[in-house]
């Protein structure tokens, strides 16, 4: 504290030599050598004081500042290197991605060709199957219709036959049928 108060007083005296000089002028008015010497001594004293007390601070300040700037430069350099590496990596990635894109596009193209062919084959198979099924269904329908017609004709013929028989069937016919039946019974008995 004392050092600081002394430093401020000396600095003030050195900074304002005109005040001391004015005081001296009031008592005596001497030649300019004295002034010169006074000013030189004063200046040297000022330099000494500055060198003695402010020098280390200024030197330290600039040393610290220099170290800070060097650190900052080093950090910026490493950041720059890192950024450069990242940029290189990114470029490599982009190149690889581009290669991958080309590969995927090529694979997709091959897959599309394969799938198109497969779908085409499947469609052909399905069409053939549908054609076959249709033929079978048509044949079955044709056969069913034929059968229905035959059944209808047979039923009509049966009905007609029944009508004719009931109209014209006589005792002689019954006798003939019985003869046949009795013969059949006889054959059965002989077996």
């Amino acid at each position: 504290m004392k050092f600081r108060i002394a430093f401020v007083l000396i600095a003030a005296a050195e900074a304002c030599p005109s005040l001391a000089h004015a005081a001296e002028q009031a008592t005596e008015n001497r030649g300019s050598w004295f002034d010169l010497v006074f000013y030189v001594i004063n200046f040297l004293l000022f330099i000494w004081i500055i060198r003695r007390y402010a020098g280390p601070l200024i030197t330290g300040f600039f040393r610290d500042r220099s170290a800070g700037i060097r650190t900052t430069i080093g950090r910026a350099q490493s950041a720059l290197d890192e950024a450069q590496q990242l940029a290189n990596h990114a470029n490599e990635q982009i190149a690889r991605l581009e290669e991958e894109r080309r590969q995927i596009a090529s694979e997709l193209s091959e897959e599309t060709i394969y799938q198109t062919g497969r779908i085409y084959d499947l469609a052909n198979e399905a069409a053939a199957r549908i054609r076959r099924d249709t033929d079978l269904t048509a044949a079955a329908l044709r056969e069913a219709a034929r059968r229905r017609v035959r059944e209808a004709l047979a039923a009509a013929a049966g009905g007609l036959a029944r009508g004719l028989i009931s109209r014209h069937f006589g005792a002689r016919d019954q006798k003939r049928l019985l003869e046949g039946f009795i013969d059949k019974l006889g054959q059965e008995a002989r077996q």
């Binding site: 004709l153 019954q174 006889g186």
Partner: protein, 178 residues
């Protein structure tokens, strides 16, 4: 199956009551008459009803037997059947008795269905033919059925001999239909 076994057991018991075949034949006719009455829907429903006591059922069957003027053994037999709660099996018992009696007598039964009323000669010829097949006496039950159109159908010992025109027509119709 259970009813059939039970019916056979009762039928065998009745058959064993007399060595006289003539009497056994008479009992068969009486049993058939009683079975036909018991089989009538209104009577069988009454005997099957749980609302009527067993004693009333026995009494009722006794009265029917009395009205039909059945012989004492058949009346006693029906009373035993009723006491054992087997009135509903009466028809099966009568049927089993008839079959067993037929076996005992060395005869069988046949159903002969003609398309129209047959002459005695036709009956006799068909009868003879059936006896030739069965190799034993055949008791035919003759019926007529106009739907046969012509000919005759016979059922003998579980086998059907079909000489009807209706069947021939049906076969022809089937052949035509393919």
């Amino acid at each position: 199956m259970k009813t059939s076994k039970v019916a056979k057991r009762y039928a065998r018991a009745l058959l064993g009551l007399s060595p006289d075949r003539g009497q056994l034949e008479a009992w068969a006719i009486e049993l058939d008459r009683l079975a036909r009455i018991v089989e009538a829907p209104e009577i069988i429903n009454m005997f099957a009803s749980p609302q009527i006591s067993p004693a009333s059922k026995i009494e009722g069957l006794g009265k029917i037997a009395e009205k039909l003027d059945l012989s004492y053994p058949v009346r006693s037999f029906s009373a035993v059947v009723a006491r054992h709660g087997r009135i509903e099996d009466f028809a099966a018992i009568a049927d089993a008795y008839r079959r067993m009696l037929d076996d005992l007598m060395g005869r069988t039964r046949a159903t002969v269905i003609f398309a129209e009323e047959p002459s005695d000669e036709d009956r006799a010829r068909v009868h003879a033919g059936l006896e030739a097949i069965a190799q034993k006496k055949v008791i035919p039950t003759v019926k007529t059925d106009g739907t046969l159109l012509g000919g005759v159908v016979v059922e003998l010992e579980g086998k059907t001999y079909d000489g009807s025109l209706a069947t021939r027509l049906a076969q022809l119709q089937q052949r035509l239909a393919g």
